[in-house]
Structures are given as structure tokens and as C-alpha cells.
Symmetry: C2
Subunit: 429 residues, 2 copies
């Protein structure tokens, strides 16, 4: 081992992801093995991501971690599982220039420092733990020169947070539930990369950034133990939906994609409600968002005898999905649809009086420009959406909107100025 | 037939009912045949009921109806079905004193006037149509001297509004779904009368008296056609629950009764959420009510390894159930539990500043007295419930509370002053 002075570090960026076929329920709590497959879309890391710097130095006397600038404990089983699994796959690292040589066995004795930062609210139902654990595992694997590919790494990230495994890839990703008792085949695979369906636009309505009331870990456990609908969903409903969703994605069939996405979000929240005690993630604002979308899409209802038809306008169709929180994630099938959607959203959910537009619509602001909205006066002057009868304006219901799109998978940041740890001390900058 | 001058009338009172195992989904839209059995508790008609006067006279030139003082059309299929079915069972009526004689066949030619009045908000999710159709059918049957018993009448009321069939009896009532294609065996039977379990106290939190947004007829149809969970519920879950609920009621086993009631309410709303487009009957206030009840009951949570236990205090247990609306119907297992519940409810859901207590807690006000609450100052002085951490007071969330109990079935009102139609003109008083 080299002298005590050096610090070696790596900084990685990992996207978050939003499930379009939901993961809810574990068959193994420790290994984090799910009761069904799930499929997600990876969000552009330019707008929603975790950045993690991991460092190793012989001068570190214990593993330490800082999340969003605050030191947190690494003693939890989930962190320990990830650290142990990656250390077991560490390889020899040599940097002749700096005079560093770490043998395979040295990694067991060396300690790491981890600093992680989310560019979005933690635990607000925006899958921060997914991006976080994916980034931790990816960065450690690069630091320790582990030879595993991203699917193999996903099976480690899964042991930190189930949905983290899906953040190891860009585009559309499937988490295969697997069959093996040790969880070795429960991992993520990429269905298509982010270029396959790059016209999609995603708008997230952040309804509340308060900590959510029921953690998904607790909620899932309660659902598995008490919901009489969960097993039926996992065994009978999801397998068919997974196949249909794969087809829809492959064929860029937006109508089917939207229908499946909405239906599966609804069913996930239905299972939450069927739990004892019931779990409510959607609130009145979430309900209003759904009603708003249904009104925008469904120009007319027609009924003939006992058969019910709902005539939805495919060109206006927007998929919605809600994770374990009240935020709506809306997916529009192209830029034009997204521009119209944003106009209607801003009419129905304008900012509270003291907000400025610049902080009310964040992410890809070019959609705002396309919508002809430059300042708050343009929002006030928006016409009511013609499809919505007596459209009401719910001021302040939404905290802010994030405009984004499907994005790429994890990557290393070579620019040292982006590192979150000091290159000499290995402590947060 | 006698001369043109006479009016013969009957006035009846019929209770409303609240399902503890829910009816959601029809297998036949026209005959109103359900996809599963259901069980309800009949509410004391002193607090929640429909009063209906039906009159017949040779001077009437058409069937007419007034609901809550306003004339409404009887042309709808549901009214027509009830009128037709009762007329087909009409018998000879003779009143020698008044010189009235109506032969069996005369009923086809005679017209009726109907006036109906609910002592609670119509279409606010308090089963007004149940009490309404039950009362219409019951009153017409008495007017026309039909010989059918209440179970047979329930199969007619069912064709007006499904849940109406359960309002033909007091106490606890089961609606047997039946098998016959013509619906003849889809009717209500009394499980136990109102004296069997007379210590129960029911408190209804009326959250909103606005018209509900999705009618249960439309909602049910959408659920049957789109929910992938509804059939599983109807075929696999409900049949077992019906048996367990019958046992619980027979044995006055409040723990099981409460657990089944809450779980079935949750599952009904879960199926609503699994519908496309999703149906939201519970709102943020409903969610707060459930969280409030869960906090009151569950003193502590303990977890050992992967198994989850929730330690609920049986003596504090309160059953909740929500129909197709945001109102919470709370069932306490005795007066003492109800008194404590009301104190905590009034702490957490006090009236808005301008309300007076007299109109904020209605129905059986003696529970208020037992709780030591005489005016609004007593409400303000209530201590926070010790079980609820940082209990917040949600002023104005609840419109009013109704205190009531299980009650008796339909009855005739012989006091002519209570009739809603004028004894000579047959028009609303």
C-alpha cells in the first residue's frame, strides 16, 4: 500500500427514474426482491439526478457519508449491503503518477468517504433513494475498478433501494423480478435507450416537498401483509401489462403506453388504499390533476344501452403516473402536446401571487418559450382550456413544475471542480 | 269505482342504511343485480330517514312526484320499474266509510301522487336514494294492499336503487346477490334486528354536502368495465368476508366487525381508484379522519425482524366506513367509547368560528351531554387526545356531525299531520 497521504476519488452522476409499471411489494425484505417485474423511464439527469463523489484514502479511519451536506450514518443494513457487495468485487488499482497502488485485498481494510447531492427534494416521492443508491454503487464500482456491467451492478444497487436498480440505465428499463432465492437474477435490463423515443416530454407537478408520511418501505410491507388485492395484481395483472408495455415502448405506440401507464399508477394507489391501515399518497391536488387531465383528453362521453364508451382524443392524450407521493408525473407524446399541456396546466394551477415564473417552471424552459409565456402576466392572460367546463384556477396547489425528458444512464464526471469532496482532505468541500 | 272526489293516501317512513360490506358493481344494469352480496346496518330513522306520502285518486290525471318540495319527473326507468311492479301486485281496497272501492284491475288506470322528503342532504353520499326508493315501494305496497312481505318488496325496491333493498329492514341486513336471471332471488333478508346489538353508536362526519361528482351508477359501471381488481374482489374476497361479518354480528364481536368494516370500505375505494378514469370519493378530510382514527386506536407499533405487528387497542377501536362520498361513518362499540370518540373528534375537527354547537352536532345530542360539552367554549377547552402526537385542529373540515345508532325498518305514520300531501287535493301541502 502507498504512503498515508493520498486521496483517490471518483465523481458520478446518476439519473432518477419513474416507474410506468409499478414496483410495490417485496417477496424478500432483506435482499429486496419484488413480487413483480416493473418498467421505468429514466429522467434526464440534467434536471433530476444525484451526484456522488466517493473517495478512498489510507488516512480515513472509518466509512463516512454526507447527504446534501449533512453527515448521515452508514450503519444501516442497506448501505452496508452495498458497501460489502462492491468491496467483494473490487480489483487492483494502480496510479503510477500519484504513486498509488491498491491490491485487491487492500479494499477490505481501506475506508471510504461518500458525499452525495440531489438536485431535487429528498423523499418527496421523486425517487431520490433510487438515484442515490444507484449513484453510490456506480461510483464505488468505478473507484474500485469492479469489472461488473451495469446489469450486474443493478443487482447490488437493488439491495440499497429496490427501484435504484432501474437507475443504472438510460431510456426505458425493466427490472426483472427473478426467481433465484439469493436474488442474483433480480436485476435491471435496458429495453431501449433514450434515443429510441426521444420526442416524449415529461412534466412533473411538484405538489408538496414535505417529507412523505408513509415511507415506501413501510407501506410496501404493510401492503404485502394486509392487502388482499396485491397478490392478484402481482400474479394476474402485472405480467400481462409488462408484455403490453414492452410492445408499446418498442412500437412507440403512445395510446397504449398512456393507457397502461395511467391504469398501473391507479392500481398501485388502489393497493395502497386496500392496505391496513390504508396508505394515501395522492391528495386533493393529485385528484384535481387527474381530473384536469381526464377533462383535457375526453371530449365527450357516449353511452349506448348498457355499454359505456369514453371517447378520448389520442392527439391530446397525456400519460400520468404518481409514485409514493402526491406529485404528478405527466408524459406528453411530443413537444407540441407538451406545449399545449403546459399552457393548460399553468391556467389551472397558477403560482401563488408571490412566486416568480423562473422558479415556478424549472428544467427545460424552452417549452415555456414555445408556449409563448415569458413572465407571470402571460400566465394570468392564458385563456381557459376549451375542453374544461368552468375551469377553475387552483392558485398555489402546485409548488413548481419540472420540464424534462427521458434521459441517459449513469456517467462519470471528469471535471474535478464538480467533485463534492476535497481532493486532499477527502472531506466535503 | 267510486265517485271522482276522494283521495286515499298512506304515509311511510323508511330508514337509510350504510353498508359494512360494500355493494359495488352490477352484473345486470336494468334489473340492478349485484356482483356480490353486501351487508348493511340500518340507521335510526329518527335521525336519518325518508318520509313519503303516496296518494291515489280518480281525479289525478297522471303520476306525479315531488322530492323535497320540488316536482321531479317519474319518467325514468327506475321509477317506472317500481311503479309497474307494485301495480302488478295491487289488491282490492275497500273503505266503506269513505265509500271507496278499488278493484284489483282498477289500479292500472288510477294515477298516484308521491311526495318524498329526506331529513338529510340528498346525494351527499348518505344513501338518500336507498331510503327514497325503499320508502316509495313500501308506501305504494301499503296503499295498494300488496300482500308481499318486506323481502319480496325489497326485490322491487332494488330495481329503483340497488342499496334500497337493504332499507326494508331494521338492524343488520344482507342483500343476497341471487342467481336467477330474472333477479327474483336478489333480495334483502334481516340478519338480526336492531335490538340484537343495541349498544353500538354511530357518528357520521358530514364533510361536504355538495353533490358528489361521480354518481354511483356511473362509477359502478366504469368499475365493472375497467377495473381489473373488481372481479377478484367480488369472487374471491367478498364471499369470505360476508361469512366472517355474519359471524361477527351474530357474536357481537366488535374487534372482527371493525376490522372487516374498515378493510371493506378501503377495498371499495381501492376498486374506485383502479377504475378508468379513476373515481375519488374520499378527499383530504376523509384521509385525515382515517389517520385520526388509526392514531387513536394504535397506541404503538412494534416490528420484529421482517414481521409487522400493529398493536391496536380493542377498547378504543372504532369502525369507519365511507360510501360514495367523503363523509366518514364511524361506529363505536358502546356509549363510553362514543363519548370519548366525540370529544377527540371535536378537538381535531372543531366547527368554524361562526358555527353554533347546536347545529354542529345533531341527532342524538345526549352523547354530547355525556361528553360534558354544553357550548362552544367547552369544545375550545378540550384537551388534545393523548394518543395523537402533535394533534392539529382542522377547523371547518367537517360541516356537522350526526349522532345516531342502529335503527328499525320501515313503518307507517298514522298521524295525518305528518302527511306530505293534502288529504283533499292530493297536492303537496
Amino acid at each position: 500500500m502507498a504512503q498515508k497521504t493520498w486521496v483517490r476519488m471518483v465523481t458520478a452522476q446518476t439519473p432518477t427514474n419513474i416507474a410506468v409499471i409499478k414496483y410495490w411489494g417485496k417477496r424478500d425484505e432483506t435482499l429486496i426482491l419484488p413480487v413483480n417485474d416493473s418498467i421505468s423511464v429514466t429522467l434526464d439527469p440534467a434536471h433530476l439526478c444525484t451526484i456522488t463523489t466517493v473517495a478512498v484514502s489510507p488516512s480515513f479511519d472509518q466509512d463516512r457519508m454526507w447527504l446534501n451536506g449533512k453527515e448521515i450514518s452508514l450503519s444501516g443494513g442497506r448501505y452496508q449491503n452495498c458497501l460489502r457487495e462492491i468491496r467483494a468485487r473490487a480489483c487492483e488499482v494502480e496510479d503510477k503518477e500519484k504513486g498509488i497502488k491498491i491490491a485487491k485485498n487492500d479494499w477490505e481494510k481501506l475506508h471510504v468517504h461518500v458525499a452525495s447531492y440531489n438536485n431535487f427534494p429528498t423523499a418527496a416521492g421523486l425517487a431520490s433513494s433510487a438515484a442515490g443508491f444507484a449513484c453510490l454503487v456506480f461510483a464505488l464500482a468505478k473507484l474500485m475498478k469492479a469489472k461488473e456491467d451495469n446489469s450486474e451492478l443493478s443487482a447490488i444497487a437493488r439491495q440499497g433501494s429496490g427501484s435504484a436498480c432501474r437507475s443504472l440505465f438510460g431510456g426505458f428499463v425493466k427490472w426483472i423480478m427473478g426467481k433465484a432465492e439469493d436474488g442474483s437474477d433480480s436485476l435491471a435490463v435496458q429495453l431501449v435507450d433514450e434515443k429510441h423515443w426521444d420526442e416524449l416530454v415529461i412534466i412533473i407537478a411538484v405538489v408538496s416537498s414535505r417529507q412523505k408520511e408513509t415511507s415506501s418501505t413501510t407501506g410496501m410491507r404493510d401492503s404485502v401483509e394486509t392487502s388482499l388485492l396485491l397478490q392478484h395484481r402481482a400474479k394476474e395483472v402485472v405480467p400481462k401489462r409488462i408484455k403490453q408495455m414492452e410492445e408499446a415502448i418498442k412500437n412507440r405506440d403512445f395510446g397504449s403506453f398512456a393507457q397502461l401507464t395511467c391504469a398501473d399508477s391507479n392500481q398501485f394507489h388502489a393497493v395502497c388504499l386496500d392496505t391496513c391501515p390504508p396508505i394515501f399518497y395522492m391528495n386533493d391536488t393529485s385528484h384535481r390533476q387527474v381530473k384536469f387531465l381526464v377533462s383535457c383528453q375526453c371530449a365527450s362521453h357516449s353511452r349506448s344501452s348498457s355499454k359505456f364508451y369514453m371517447k378520448c382524443d389520442d392527439t391530446k392524450m397525456v400519460a400520468y403516473t404518481f409514485d409514493a407521493g402526491p406529485n404528478a408525473v405527466l408524459i406528453a407524446h411530443n413537444r407540441k402536446a407538451a406545449t399545449q399541456l403546459l399552457q393548460k396546466l399553468l391556467f389551472c394551477f397558477p403560482p401563488s401571487s408571490d412566486a416568480d415564473l423562473n422558479s415556478y417552471v424549472i428544467g427545460d424552459k424552452s417549452i415555456l418559450k414555445d408556449a409563448g409565456i415569458e413572465d407571470i402576466k402571460d400566465v394570468e392572460a392564458l385563456p381557459p382550456p376549451p375542453e374544461i367546463k368552468d375551469a377553475q384556477r387552483c392558485k398555489g396547489d402546485v409548488s413548481y413544475f419540472i420540464c424534462t425528458k427521458p434521459g441517459r444512464g449513469p456517467g462519470l464526471l471528469s471535471d474535478e471542480s464538480l467533485a463534492l469532496l476535497h481532493p486532499e482532505t477527502g472531506l466535503p468541500k
